[in-house]
């Protein structure tokens, strides 16, 4: 007993090897990358990869809230397309009267719409008491259909005159750091703060860990979960804000299958799908791992184009195995 107590009281929070898993996996994947292709480490390539991973990372921070509070959101990809569409329409509508400020106003609209989409998901899950998997599969169809309908199956491009002023939000740098990366950092920092340092974060974990206990303790599980979905919606909107300047249009294929990438990033990052545990920084590592693997598939010459998906699958499984055995 004494031994146990001693080791236990050793430090406020020991570094746990298990928590390092995603970062080790990331390091492994990067190392493999360096061995495969020398251009992998080139500044542009690294900047490209990191910048690209911003979308999935930002959305995945939201997903970390949802999953750790005991939910799941399959609709994020379609929601992203829908929010992008609405934002572009709003910006185009406001441009004649507001000029460049239409971007800011449009972004505001996007945040509100994102939050509302999240609220819808949350209410269906909590008030309607429908399994999140089914509920968000339903809204996934709904959002996807809406963007298809809004675009008549084609695309919704942003006004030419807005393109230039908006461009820096994806392509710009601040002190040499790409803007989307800075945005991601802010989102992650805020996310980590909320999850680990606020009452709400505590209650999120409690709701995901054991909903009954949370309820007895006066935590409104329904409210906490709904709020997590709203946060997810906001994250989707933020991702949309820095996505638009990249290609300047919303199409029915925007954000397709991102939900799977997002959930994968979260799980690789160490957040358990059953809830009760959140690893925001791991989530970011997860998003990076996915993007690096995709990048390596193109950079390496060893894989037939047909087999890219197979190799990606194998690498993901190997990475997970690796960090299991390093433990």
């Amino acid at each position: 007993m004494t031994a146990a107590i001693a080791s236990r009281s050793a430090g406020p929070r020991r570094i746990r090897w298990a928590d390092m898993g995603p970062f080790i996996a990331l390091a492994v994947v990067v190392l493999v990358g360096v061995m495969i292709n020398s251009s992998f480490l080139s500044g542009t390539n690294i900047a490209n990869v990191v910048t690209r991973s911003a979308f999935v990372a930002i959305i995945a921070v939201g997903a970390t809230f949802v999953i750790s509070s005991g939910g799941l959101d399959l609709s994020v990809g379609s929601m992203m397309a829908f929010v992008t569409g609405i934002m572009i329409l709003a910006m185009n509508r406001l441009e004649p009267s507001m000029g460049g400020y239409a971007i800011v106003a449009g972004a505001g609209v996007g945040l509100v719409v994102g939050a509302l989409c999240g609220l819808l998901n949350g209410l269906i899950v909590t008030v309607g008491k429908i399994e999140p998997f089914i509920a968000t599969l339903g809204t996934m169809g709904i959002f996807r259909a809406l963007i298809t309908w809004m675009s008549d199956g084609g695309s919704i491009p942003i006004e030419r005159s807005l393109r230039e002023p908006y461009r820096p939000v994806y392509f710009g740098n601040l002190l040499g750091i790409p803007v989307p990366v800075i945005l991601t950092l802010i989102v992650v920092l805020v996310g980590a703060f909320v999850l680990y340092r606020t009452k709400y974060g505590r209650r999120c974990m409690a709701a995901g860990s054991n909903a009954d206990v949370a309820r007895f303790s006066g935590v409104s599980v329904a409210k906490v979960r709904t709020m997590a979905f709203v946060i997810q919606g906001l994250c989707v909107a933020i991702a949309a804000i820095c996505y638009i300047p990249r290609l300047g249009a919303a199409t029915p294929t925007t954000g397709q299958l991102w939900e799977l990438q997002v959930i994968t990033a979260v799980v690789i990052g160490g957040t358990a799908l059953r809830g009760g545990k959140a690893r925001v920084w791991g989530t970011v590592a997860g998003a990076l791992i996915l993007e690096v693997i995709a990048n390596l598939m193109v950079l390496s010459n060893m894989v037939s184009e047909y087999l890219v998906a197979a190799v990606q699958g194998v690498i993901i499984i190997l990475a997970m195995l690796a960090h299991r055995f390093i433990k």
Binding site: S39, D152, G153, L247, A249, T253, L299, E305, V308
Partner: protein
């Protein structure tokens, strides 16, 4: 008797892929346009447009359409030839007039009317033009779509022509007819290959992503970035005489509309049209771009 016949409702079913990307979006748009116009003009014709997200779903849709009513005609853009041949044959067995668009069925005898696109030519014509401009020398990268027959044929047409030249195809990867994925893939191509003379994306949707990636990289050695399908935005580029994208290849989604009109014709007193109509894939150049430009189409 003729009067009674004229009053009788004629049903034309249209079965097409769901609008999952730009080109299929265009198909849906033109089909719905045709439905509206024809139903307005000829009250005794009922056009039913149905989209399906997969070959399986399309087969199901055919069964449902045929079970629910007697179809006078079916206009179909099949997902794949092999998979849809049998089911279409069954529809025909009930006496339905069959019009096939784009991809022919494996048994051509089933098709009363065939409006054929030529995906091989889309690839081949682009390749020929590119080979000529590059002087049979150079390095190109290729982006392909979703693994389906259309994609396969276009790539086949392209690579066969290129094989006869000294042009080297550095890489071919899937970008799933998705702007985003094309952008990402092009960024990676640029990182991987220090010298790229030309890019071919087998669809204009992807071309837009490619152009953005090239623009952002600041690389200037890329002389041509070409697509295919004749998307509105790309035709605008062609019309404006863009040096990097001076041509496109039409693969107009409006072919579905033409087919529906041809079929409708026979119910409005005209003689039934039968046989095969092959749309070729002429190059869209600044000179002729005007005639391929439909500003109202979503595609």
């Amino acid at each position: 008797a003729t009067g009674a016949l004229a009053q009788e409702k004629r049903i034309i079913a249209v079965s097409i892929p769901a609008a999952t990307h730009g080109w299929t979006g265009g198909v849906v748009y033109h089909a719905e346009q045709a439905e509206k116009e024809i139903e307005a003009a000829f009250p005794n014709i009922d056009v039913i447009v149905k989209t399906s997200p997969s070959a399986t779903a399309q087969v199901s849709a055919l069964e449902d359409l045929a079970a629910a009513q007697k179809l006078d005609a079916l206009v179909i853009l099949p997902f794949t030839s092999e998979e849809l041949t049998g089911p279409v044959e069954q529809v025909k067995a009930a006496g339905t007039f069959i019009a096939v668009v784009d991809r022919g069925l494996t048994d051509p005898a089933i098709q009363d009317l065939y409006v054929a696109g030529d995906n091989l030519a889309v690839g081949a014509n682009t390749a020929k033009w590119l080979a000529e401009k590059l002087g049979n020398e150079g390095k190109v990268v290729v982006l392909r779509g979703i693994p389906t027959v259309i994609d396969d044929e276009r790539i086949q047409g392209f690579t066969e022509v290129i094989k006869g030249t000294n042009i080297e195809i550095l890489d071919i990867q899937y970008a799933n007819w998705n702007q985003d994925e094309a952008f990402t893939l092009m960024q990676d191509y640029l990182a991987k290959y220090p010298q790229i003379d030309a890019v071919w994306a087998n669809d204009d949707d992807m071309l837009l992503g490619v152009l953005e990636a090239v623009k952002e990289s600041g690389r200037t050695e890329i002389r041509y970035a070409l697509g295919g399908n004749g998307m509105k935005d790309v035709i605008e580029l062609v019309m404006a005489g863009d040096p990097v994208t001076p041509i496109s290849t039409p693969y107009p989604p409006s072919m579905i509309k033409s087919a529906i009109y041809m079929v409708a014709g026979q119910f409005t007193g005209q003689a039934p049209m039968r046989g095969s109509f092959k749309l070729d894939a002429p190059l869209i150049t600044p000179e002729n771009a005007e005639q391929f430009y439909f500003p109202d189409s979503p595609f």
